[in-house]
Amino acid sequence: MLSKQKLFPWIFLFAALLIVFAPLPIQAQPVERTVRIEAGDYAFSPAVIHANPGDRVTIELVSKDVVHGLTIDGYPDINLQAEPGKTARTTFVANRAGTFKIRCSVACGSLHPFMTGKISIGPNLLLYRAGGLALLVLISGAVYSSRKQKAAQ
């Protein structure tokens, strides 16, 4: 006879697996996309870029003050270098989905190590799934503590 108590861990395990592995429907078709990014004063502008998986993305890097670089975590072939008067361009296919950090790759002063932005290719599945798991942790925690309280009474 399966008591509720024994059933709960399985329910939560199943929910967790669902959250981690359930595929989300593919929403957007790949398109051609051009983004102009200005780099200056230790920041990229815009600092957050969105693209669909499979997009052909062209990045134009315009520097406003000194020599800046641009690399994207997870896309090792991209390495732009731009300075005032010399806009750099590159085109790539966003075949790797996820949210990746954009970094400046040429030492541009004291805050250079923190000169970052991010590019989201497709929905940020890691964030959604982890958030879902966190919610599940709360719910399961609430269930367990209420059961504990009932048992103590």
Binding site: G40, K64, D65, V66, V67, P84, G85, A107, C108, S110
Partner: protein
């Protein structure tokens, strides 16, 4: 003292002395090979002090050893009017190079990677002294630049009154070469006259009366194209991108990133002190900068601007800079060939002069 205590203290002091010694060795910069003088040169943005050495002195023929690094952003070390490839200086990384100057004189070293608004001010001098006084004296007396010989006023407005309706094309103008008078193909004419002036003279030629205005402009474009070559234009394109585009714009419109927000330069409004006032406001915060004399350059793609300027005038502006606008002076930086090529390249913004010379 007990033996273990003694051993422990000795061990501790040895480690501390090792750490301290490393510090002392690092703090004394002149630790290095002794042959010849080694100058340690730090590159910094002009706002942070510029080159750590303003002047390097040497004798003619004496090798100058330089050990260079950057203390803040990416800089580069280059010698003006020289073929030496620039040496990129990355922050924290060291480069070594050796220079030798056979001729005495003043040489300029400068930075070739943009390092902020004051990048062009990052220049230093290498003073090379020699025993041969005559050579030194000869080096001093160079040819006077043309704008001085012609007594041109570099700061006066030079807008063309007559402008072409469509962009003049050297390719179309080439077909007219046989019909052009001798003076039109003379280098002297090219140097001393603006395209507009040459066009006006051609317009008075009875032999060319059957050509319409546009065809004559094409002929002028061809006259300009003959004075240069695609190879020189390609080289000049690189010079422009490295040195000029930051202010003058990658498309020549005077909209480079370094002049964003500055008022547009209007020579008609120069005050006695040489500061340009504003006739057109482009953004906020101009007051301080217009009083400092900084302004955005004119639009090279506007035919009124370039077609009214002679190569001699442009050479003068490049050599002397100034004009109360923040335009740098390039005299010590470009060789004569580079200057010629660059001037020819500038006209490309108003005329299509990129045509192969047969």
């Amino acid at each position: 003292m007990k033996k273990p205590e003694l051993i422990a203290r000795i061990f501790l002091f040895l480690l501390l002395i090792a750490a301290g010694a490393a510090g002392v060795i690092a703090a004394v910069p002149a630790f290095g090979p002794g042959s010849g003088e080694i100058h340690e040169l730090h590159a910094r943005m002009p706002e942070n002090g510029g080159w750590s050495l303003d002047t390097i002195s040497a004798k003619a023929g004496q090798p100058i050893h330089l050990r260079m690094t950057s203390d803040d952003v990416l800089h580069s070390f280059a010698i003006g009017q020289s073929d030496r490839p620039p040496v990129d200086l990355y922050p924290g990384k060291w480069e070594e190079t050796t220079l030798v100057f056979d001729q005495p004189g003043r040489y300029t070293f400068y930075c070739t990677r943009w390092c902020g608004r004051n990048h062009w001010r990052m220049r230093g001098t290498i003073l090379v002294t020699g025993e041969d006084v005559e050579t030194a004296a000869q080096a001093e007396t160079q040819e006077k630049p043309l704008y001085l010989a012609l007594d041109l006023n570099l700061d006066a407005p030079h807008n063309a009154e007559i402008v072409p309706q469509r962009e003049p094309s050297a390719e179309r103008g080439r077909a007219l070469e046989q019909r052009l008078p001798a003076y039109a193909l003379d280098r002297d004419t090219y140097l001393k006259n603006s395209p507009e002036t040459v066009w006006k003279r051609l317009r008075t030629e009875p032999a060319l009366a059957d050509l319409d205005d546009a065809a004559l402009w094409d002929a002028v474009a061809w006259i300009w194209a003959r004075q240069t070559s695609p190879e020189k234009l390609a080289k000049a394109a690189g010079l422009y991108a490295t040195n000029c585009a930051a202010c003058h714009g990658e498309t020549g419109k005077g909209d480079g990133v370094m002049v964003e927000g500055l008022p547009r330069f209007d020579p008609a409004n120069i005050h006695k002190e040489g500061h340009a006032s504003t006739s057109e406001r482009l953004g906020n915060n101009q007051m301080a900068e217009s009083e400092m004399g900084l302004s955005a350059p004119g639009d090279f793609t506007d035919p009124k601007l370039l077609l009214g300027a002679s190569p001699a005038l442009l050479e003068g502006k490049l050599l002397r800079g100034g004009m109360g606008t923040g335009m740098p002076y390039w005299g010590p930086i470009f060789t004569e060939e580079e200057m010629d090529a660059l001037i020819a390249y500038l006209y490309q913004f108003a005329m299509d002069t990129d045509a192969a010379v047969q």
